[in-house]
């Protein structure tokens, strides 16, 4: 029992000797030394774009030179003007909502990282 009390006391003293060390620019100095890897991001964008173009081309060819697109437009022409306007407005709202959600999420993420240490 005495041994346990002594160990608790020793551990408590040791922890007390490890106070919080203020950052005082340490993080900024570390980040300033990081290598820059911008090329990887731009390479990823190129790969994504190329994959999209290739996939679209394949879909176009496989579907009989885009017959499904012609059919879709033919189908749309049978809709009333009101329905087409509602469809356009709906698509607009949907895109705006998705964009806003993405922007808010990104803003919160940036805020949580602390604006003071932007480099």
């Amino acid at each position: 029992m005495d041994k346990e009390i002594q160990e608790d006391w020793l551990d408590a003293r040791l922890r007390a000797e490890a106070p919080y060390i203020d950052d005082a620019g340490f993080s900024s100095r570390v980040v300033a030394q990081l290598p820059v890897h911008r090329s990887r991001n731009s390479l990823r964008a190129v790969i994504l774009l190329a994959a999209t173009v290739v996939a679209s081309a394949i879909a176009y060819v496989v579907s009989g030179d885009g017959r499904f697109i012609v059919e879709a437009f033919a189908h749309l022409t049978q809709w009333s003007l009101l329905m087409l306007v509602l469809l356009a407005i709906g698509c607009g709202f949907l895109l705006t909502a998705l964009g806003s959600i993405a922007a808010i999420a990104k803003m919160r993420e940036q805020q949580s990282l602390g604006a003071s240490d932007r480099l």
Binding site: I5, W9, L14, E17, A18, P19, V31, Q110, D117
Partner: protein
């Protein structure tokens, strides 16, 4: 709400997000610098240089972190390796010999403030015992985690902690609970 280590690591890996890495550094700089200060016997400038090298090494090797252990354990391991490499270069791995230890633990010399005595007692421990004590008793790592950090068997960690504790208790006997 603070972002978790795992989320920050993912953002660094996926987006090469320097802001996320800065946050990782901010969250862990105090413990890493504190540990290195103790290991370098309170050489603040050297400890900060080693801490900087530690975080740069973390950044370069982040892809090898598989998340099997806690991020902090992995970080301590890198910090300890950086310290060990530097100590090897400086040939300071040997630590203090036992004769000096015996001399220093004379109760007549224990007449300064507790903090001073504790730091002195810690600095007198051989490196393997000091490291185990710092990781387990001061930074709260389990024996298993400390074994991973120090890359030594679990039993050795337990022995080092036990011996280190005994030596500290002997030196600080006058300050301990009655």
């Amino acid at each position: 709400m603070p972002v978790t280590d795992a989320a920050l690591v993912a953002r660094v890996l996926v987006d090469d997000d320097h802001h996320a890495f800065a946050e990782l550094v901010r969250q862990h700089q105090s413990t890493v610098r504190g540990l290195l200060r103790q290991l370098t016997r309170n050489d603040l400038a050297l400890a900060d240089d080693l801490a900087q090298e530690t975080f740069l090494r973390v950044y370069k090797n982040l892809r090898s972190f598989r998340g099997e252990a806690k991020f902090s354990t992995w970080l301590y391991r890198i910090a300890y390796n950086v310290f060990r490499e530097d100590a090897r270069r400086r040939k300071e791995l040997v630590g203090i010999d036992e004769s000096k230890w015996q001399e220093e633990q004379d109760p007549k010399t224990v007449d300064l403030a507790l903090r001073h005595d504790l730091m002195r007692a810690l600095n007198l421990l051989p490196l393997h015992e000091r490291s185990a004590i710092l990781l387990c008793c001061q930074n709260g790592l389990s024996h298993e985690e400390a074994a991973r950090v120090l890359e030594i068997p679990l039993g050795t960690v337990k022995t080092n902690v036990l011996r280190g504790r005994e030596k500290l208790k002997r030196t600080l006997a006058a300050w301990g609970p009655n």
